[in-house]
């Protein structure tokens, strides 16, 4: 078991900065999710921790030991590849037994541990199958069993659920979380699925173009994004630009006031208000409060209904509510409102996303 420390870690491929100056600490036993768009450097971070590529700068410590120059073999890390990388010539049993076999463990111990690991991922009875004879979800679970069977210090998972359909993915997510908690193993999970990140992690780091945009608990990252990129990447967000009126809120160019806390922001400085759609309430046109708007689109999502609105305050606004809660048809004139505590203010310097 061990904590991971990144100390100014950087990786360049020629002109491409795959990872820029990453400094952070992942405490022992934490489930950390790395979230970011395609090409943002997620896989590269895992490869650096696993020792598959050398960093071009900085140090990586695992359990206090500097592993920057250690071979992958010496790092005691279980890695599940984006493509699973199961050995096609070995059956499920011998795939999972591989890390034990190369360590020269006795046969009986191998048999016991492999059986336990396969039971853990609910694949008992599949031991003699070849990887090609398994479904994507089963292969993913074999890869997972192979990665933890030798009790590594750290588990690295590169989009392990990417190939699964939604229902299976949700099942495996629950299993994965339970497994990680039972083993108490420090885990880095890569995903570009924000729901997966929010539901599984103790903390999330959000990456863009190799640079860390924010690190925090799912709640922090969702409710108090560090910048517009994070706000936009984790679900939908209403972004309203204006100028700060200290102690009162944000004054929009159209004259409306968005009431909210303005902690420490200077009077008159430009800022952006972030409001999540599910915090936006739709009111009748005659209501005395809120911003006037017209319903442009009505999107039915099953458990949710979402409205896209043209507002008098400038940009498009989005509201969402559990189906049956709100009522509005396309073309209706409404007013939208939200509570001051549901507004998160981003100061001007947090506007630019990536460096």
């Amino acid at each position: 078991m061990g904590a991971i420390e990144f100390d100014g870690v950087a990786k360049r491929y020629g002109p491409v900065h795959a990872v820029r100056d990453l400094t952070m600490r992942v405490p022992e036993g934490e489930f950390l999710t790395i979230l970011g768009p395609s090409g943002s450097g997620k896989t590269t971070i895992l490869s650096l921790v696993a020792g598959l590529v050398p960093p071009t700068g900085g140090r990586i410590l695992i359990a206090g030991r500097d592993v920057t120059n250690l071979e992958p073999q010496q790092r005691r890390i279980g890695l599940v590849f984006q493509s699973y990388a199961l050995f096609p010539h070995l059956d499920v049993f011998r795939n999972v037994a591989f890390p034990l076999a190369v360590r020269g463990r006795p046969r009986s111990e191998i048999a016991d541990k492999v059986a336990a690991a396969l039971a853990r991922v609910r694949l008992d009875g599949f031991a003699r199958r070849k990887p090609q004879q398994l479904s994507g979800g089963q292969q993913q679970r074999v890869a997972l069993a192979r990665a933890f069977v030798f009790e590594p210090d750290i588990l690295l998972l590169d989009e392990p659920l990417g190939a699964l359909d939604r229902k299976l993915r949700e099942e495996v997510q629950v299993e994965l979380k339970a497994l990680q908690r039972d083993l108490g193993i420090t885990t880095l999970l890569v995903t570009h699925d924000q729901e997966e990140a929010l539901s599984l992690s103790d903390r999330i780091i959000v990456l863009d173009h190799g640079a860390m945009q924010q690190v925090g608990t799912p709640d922090e990252v969702y409710r108090r994004p560090a910048n517009r990129f994070v706000a936009g990447f984790l679900g939908l967000a209403n972004l309203l630009e204006g100028r700060v009126e200290a102690g009162r809120g944000l004054r929009l160019p159209t004259g409306e006031l968005v009431a909210c806390a303005t902690q420490g922001l200077a009077e008159g400085s430009p800022a952006t208000a972030v409001v999540r759609p599910e915090r936006v309430r739709l009111l009748p046109e005659t209501a005395g409060e809120g911003i006037a708007a017209r319903v442009r689109q009505d999107v039915y999502l099953g458990h949710l209904r979402r409205w896209h609105l043209d507002s008098d305050a400038g940009p498009e606004l989005i509201a969402a509510a559990a189906d049956g809660v709100g009522q509005a048809a396309i073309g209706d004139r409404v007013r939208v409102a939200w509570a001051p505590e549901d507004v998160w203010l981003l100061p001007e310097e947090a506007r630019g996303a990536a460096a």
Binding site: Q73, G78, R103, F150
Partner: protein, 271 residues
Amino acid sequence: MRIGRNAGTYVVPLLVLMVVAFDVPILLMLASSVLAPHPTVAHWAELVESPIYFRVLGNTFQIALVTAAVCGLIGYPLAYWMRGLGGRAQLAVVTLVLLPFWISILVRTYAWIVVLGNNGIVNRSLMGLGLTDRPVSFLYNQLGVTIGTTNVLLPFLVLPLFAAMLKIDERLLQAAATLGASRRAIFWRVFFPLSLPAFAAGLVLVFILTLGFYVTPAILGGGRVPMISSMLDILINQMPRWELAAAISTLLLAVTLALYGVYRTIAARAA
């Protein structure tokens, strides 16, 4: 399906040509081992009863086996080394491996006589180094034949093997490394098993090609290393015993087809 049928009709004339021009003569020739001059098993009986033919067959198999083994011992490390090379160096080496294909087999075979002869560069170097005081006889024996066939057939093993090695997913080797396997263990537990089907297929291919090889063994063996192909030459051109040659050819074809079956089975597993 429509496309398939249309394509089929275009191919029919070619197919007829192939059958009439190639397959029918071969079958007639093979049939002569039991039909000429009238239905008989006499030629087969003669083949089975005279030990000389089986000695030649045995000798041929032995040379084919040695050639396949030597090709394997040289070819596997060569292909492995080529796989690890960078883009440009790799292209250069592939070209070097292919180069012999563009030089006539006769030229290459006679070149070996110059190189391996009593006054050739090899013997002069050996004597110059004091490793031997009489020339070593490389030519007109099994050693010479094996050197020649190995030289000609090596690319048939190396190129497909190299292609198969390139297809092995680098991430499998990385996965093995993260799971704690040493370089040695990665090679023996992952890389070698994954390359084995292509390797085995290459060995069988070289073996089959050696069985029927004529030019190189004839020249480098100088008539002193009997192989099936040179025996057929004698039976047809000097005896002439077409019926017996047909019987031997039938046997050779059967063995080759059986081996080809093995080759296909292995190659299919490799793909």
